[in-house]
């Protein structure tokens, strides 16, 4: 009887491939990581942290976000309380320019270098583009912070307009694996999102693209998503965890177990060794305080501080105190990670 050859431990492989050579894990390798037993979690997080420190450094990029236009969205993203197609308690609202500037000032005070203006739309119309242009100009005149935008799908003219305004990064999440996307959104396609991202990159803006974990995807699809992102090579990947919103089709889904969320954080770091990997929405309900610390020591090198678009987060001071405790400096304006 012949014995099957011993399988190389995936963490040993990752140490050599990702940590030493800076080459991200493949989809199949990420799947192996996601399938690790929980008793390997600490080793996995430690390796992801080493990878982050070696290829990104100790700095943490801090960002604040604001909803410029809330609710009433015509799209049916099943996780989103801002869709006008669901019986969600979130009502439509527009933010005025003085309030937008004030929010940017609040964000800058926390030490953040990024401020992202978000609108719940399929894509911006002329009214929204005018509001964004006025808002970006007002912020640039009064606040020392970099401005990012997230306004849905864009056409080439809008991409060019945003680049000309000085928007340095554009967020547009692919949200989930290509194979799972039709279970999450039916009113537009994954490919339409990809097209916007391609135009954003070609216009010279930084690409911010991530998604939400815990939307019913399989581990295989989570690994597929990491490979989709690796192919895109975004400058930043925000990782959200589903916070089930009342009235949405995903309102009754279970919150992702903390160990699974942390394994995913580390796995995405091993797939994307050089990207800015940001803790985003849902981390409070999924991970709690202890989990947040473990995530920052498990591959994360950026955070959204304070509140989110329609929900509340930890007070910014808690995250900033944690970064201080961990001796992780906040990235200064105009530094690169």
């Amino acid at each position: 009887m012949t014995q099957a050859p011993a399988r190389t431990d995936i963490l040993a492989t990752a140490r050599e491939q990702v940590l030493e050579r800076g080459e991200g894990l493949s989809e199949a390798q990420v799947l192996e990581v996601l399938q690790l037993d929980d008793d390997r979690l600490e080793d996995l997080l430690a390796l992801a942290h080493d990878v982050r420190m070696k290829w990104c450094g100790p700095e943490v990029e801090v960002e604040g976000i604001i909803s410029l236009k809330t609710g009433g969205c015509p799209e049916d993203c099943h996780f989103c309380s801002q869709s006008g197609l669901f019986q969600s308690p979130v009502r439509a609202a527009w933010l005025d320019i003085p309030s937008l500037v004030e929010a940017a000032k609040q964000t800058a005070k926390s030490g953040a270098t990024e401020f992202c203006i978000v609108a719940a739309v399929r894509g911006p119309d002329a009214r929204l583009m005018a509001q964004v242009a006025a808002g970006v100009e007002a912020i640039r005149n009064e606040v020392d912070i970099q401005v990012a935008c997230s306004l849905g799908m864009l056409n080439q003219e809008q991409v060019d307009q945003l680049a000309a305004m000085g928007v340095h990064r554009y967020n547009h999440n692919l949200e989930t694996a290509r194979s799972h996307f039709p279970n999450v959104v039916t009113t537009h396609s994954w490919e339409e999102r990809w097209d916007t991202l391609r135009m954003v990159r070609e216009a010279g803006m930084e690409v911010c693209c991530g998604g939400i974990l815990g939307m019913g995807e399989t581990l295989e699809q989570r690994a597929e998503f990491s490979a989709n992102l690796a192919e895109l090579e975004p400058d930043e990947v925000p990782l959200n965890f589903l916070n089930p919103r009342p009235g949405t089709p995903f309102g009754d889904l279970e919150v992702l177990p903390a160990s699974e969320a942390l394994k995913s954080v580390a796995a995405f770091r091993l797939a994307l060794p050089r990207t800015i990997l940001r803790f985003a929405g849902g981390r409070e309900i999924t991970l709690g305080d202890l989990g947040a610390k473990k995530g920052i020591l498990g591959g994360i090198n950026a955070v959204i501080v304070g509140n989110y678009l329609t929900t509340l987060g930890r007070p910014a001071e808690q995250d900033l105190d944690l970064l201080g405790e961990l001796q992780m400096p906040i990235k200064a304006l105009n530094d690169t990670i």
Binding site: G64, I65, I66, S67, T70, P89, V90, R91, A92, A93, L95, S99, E102, A103, Q106, T107, S110, N243, P246, V255, E284, I285, V305, G306, N307, Y308, L309, T310, T311, L312, G313, P315, A316
Partner: protein, 75 residues
């Protein structure tokens, strides 16, 4: 004819349901953790317009006006 709301009626700010003594309403987990701004007016149960900002929120009821997290000294 408009219906009047009794002065002592109260509504759950997270579900909009009327608070009835002895009948606990299910409060969403995120609200229990302090991660949710109010969505419904506590005085009349109307859905409010809510704006969240990086360090606070305000919520406006068309009948009962605006409440601001800064005034409530809570997030």
């Amino acid at each position: 004819m408009t219906s009047s709301v009794a002065m002592d009626e109260q509504y759950n700010p997270y579900t909009g349901r009327r608070v009835v003594e002895g009948h606990d309403d299910v409060v969403p987990t995120a609200a229990q953790l302090g991660l949710e701004p109010p969505r419904f007016c506590e005085q009349c149960g109307r859905r409010m317009v809510v704006q969240v900002s990086p360090d606070g929120w305000w919520a406006k009821c068309s009948r009962h006006g605006v409440i601001d997290s800064a005034d409530l000294e809570r997030r």
